[in-house]
């Protein structure tokens, strides 16, 4: 049976851990709110961009110029670039492990193609550093407060490769924020872009520059913004996952403390009872 002092020591240590997990939960909650605000702030641009893209693609198609644009033609997919986003830090429950599983599934599904990885986040980098041959670039420590500049750095080389025909498709794999309790895995094909939905009444625009030229400028931005959005979503999802994980850890710690306290009291009582018996029997022996 463990001694009283040992149990006290364990209770103290679990209490310390509980304080840390509680603090981490609060920090994550605050960061989550900020991350969510940023996700929402970035929405209008993405929506507007999709609309303009649809207009331009339709105009280019009308002029029969689609075949000359690398953005609108589809090639046989032999080489794939995958942008894989994980978090930099752990202690976020199954946040990263589910991403690792999903990325391996992706590699298995596309085993016929040569997949090159662009890794965002330390966890994914550490995971694939020795497991995968084709790594294009690594971006670590940019998820603390991602800016559009960071997204451009991540996307630049991938965009160039696609335009120059060095890769045939670009995918993005990351976690998206769904609710505080749940994240959704998102596998998205960035390039070639899915043909945008046709509008019921196309607007007859004056094009200051040829549609194809504008498309050449717009498509890289489309990819950059998709990457930017994914970064913001990843950050929000990470904080949500950590918040939930730390909440569970705090609850667990509470349970452990309760059990230990109960144990401690039992042992204490047993010791007292034993002492009383000793005193009583000692007194009885003296009387005789």
């Amino acid at each position: 049976m463990p001694s009283l002092i040992d149990i006290r020591r364990r209770i103290r240590s679990v209490k310390n851990t509980q304080q840390i997990t509680k603090a981490m939960k609060m920090v994550s909650a605050a960061k989550l709110r900020r991350a969510q605000d940023r996700v929402i702030a970035a929405r209008p641009y993405a929506a507007q961009m999709r609309e303009m893209l649809a207009d331009l693609a339709a105009a280019a198609e009308e002029q029969g110029e689609t075949s000359s644009s690398p953005w609108l033609t589809r090639r046989e997919v032999k080489r794939i670039d995958l942008i894989f986003m994980t978090s930099d830090k752990g202690l976020a429950g199954a946040f990263n492990s589910s991403l690792m599983k999903a990325s391996q599934r992706f590699l298995a599904e596309h085993s016929g193609a040569e997949v090159t990885l662009t890794l965002v986040g330390r966890k994914g980098r550490d995971f694939y550093k020795r497991r995968h041959g084709g790594i294009l670039s690594e971006h670590v420590n940019i998820l603390n407060k991602p800016t559009i500049e960071d997204a451009r750095n991540v996307a630049r080389e991938v965009i160039r490769r696609y335009r120059d025909g060095e890769t045939d498709a670009v995918y993005l794999l990351n976690n998206e924020f769904k609710s505080v309790m749940a994240q959704t895995l998102s596998v998205m094909q960035l390039l070639p872009a899915a043909p945008p939905a046709k509008k019921a009444e196309p607007v007859d625009y004056i094009y200051e520059q040829p549609p194809l030229e504008m498309l050449d400028q717009l498509m890289p931005r489309y990819v950059e913004v998709a990457v930017f959005r994914a970064m913001l979503e990843t950050v929000a999802a990470e904080h949500a996952a950590r918040m939930t994980a730390m909440d569970k850890a705090s609850t667990n710690a509470k349970e452990v403390i309760e059990t230990l306290t109960l144990n401690m009291n039992r042992i204490r009582q047993a010791a007292i009872t034993k002492e009383i018996i000793e005193v009583v029997s000692g007194a009885a022996a003296a009387e005789e």
Partner: protein, 129 residues
């Protein structure tokens, strides 16, 4: 006419205006309600100015696109800064630095350095108005 200016990070302007000057790639375009639908790229650095509620406002816009419709103008900026948020002294400093950089590079001046001047100039102009 509704004017919306968005950058990837946030929405900068979302209000009704009576007219707007847009720094399109081939020169400034004046947009008033009823303008013909138009799509254009934007200058790498320019000043978008507009009148709202009798007041003149400016936004420094660094590249992007504009979509003009009869009842609204939407600017998709690569990045942008409202004029009133720009520190004029800092903007001038940035311009001086950019000009010095170009002079230093001499004949081997890069496009980036030249564009930085244009951007810095736009910031200075937006702050001044």
């Amino acid at each position: 006419m509704l004017l919306q200016v968005v950058s990837p990070e946030r929405m900068l302007v979302d209000e009704h205006v009576t007219e707007a000057q847009i720094p399109a790639l081939d020169g400034y375009i004046g947009a008033m309600p009823g303008h013909a639908p138009l799509l254009s790229a934007l200058m790498p650095g320019g000043v978008l100015s507009y009148k709202a509620g009798g007041k003149d406002e400016t936004v420094a816009v660094y590249g992007g696109f504009v979509q003009i419709l009869p009842d609204r103008v939407r600017v998709l900026a690569d990045s942008a800064q409202p004029g009133r948020e720009i520190d004029a002294a800092k903007a001038r400093e940035r311009l001086a630095k950019a000009q010095a950089a170009v002079e230093q590079q001499g004949a081997a001046v890069t496009d980036d350095a030249r564009e930085e001047i244009v951007r810095a100039q736009a910031a200075v102009d937006a702050a001044a108005k």
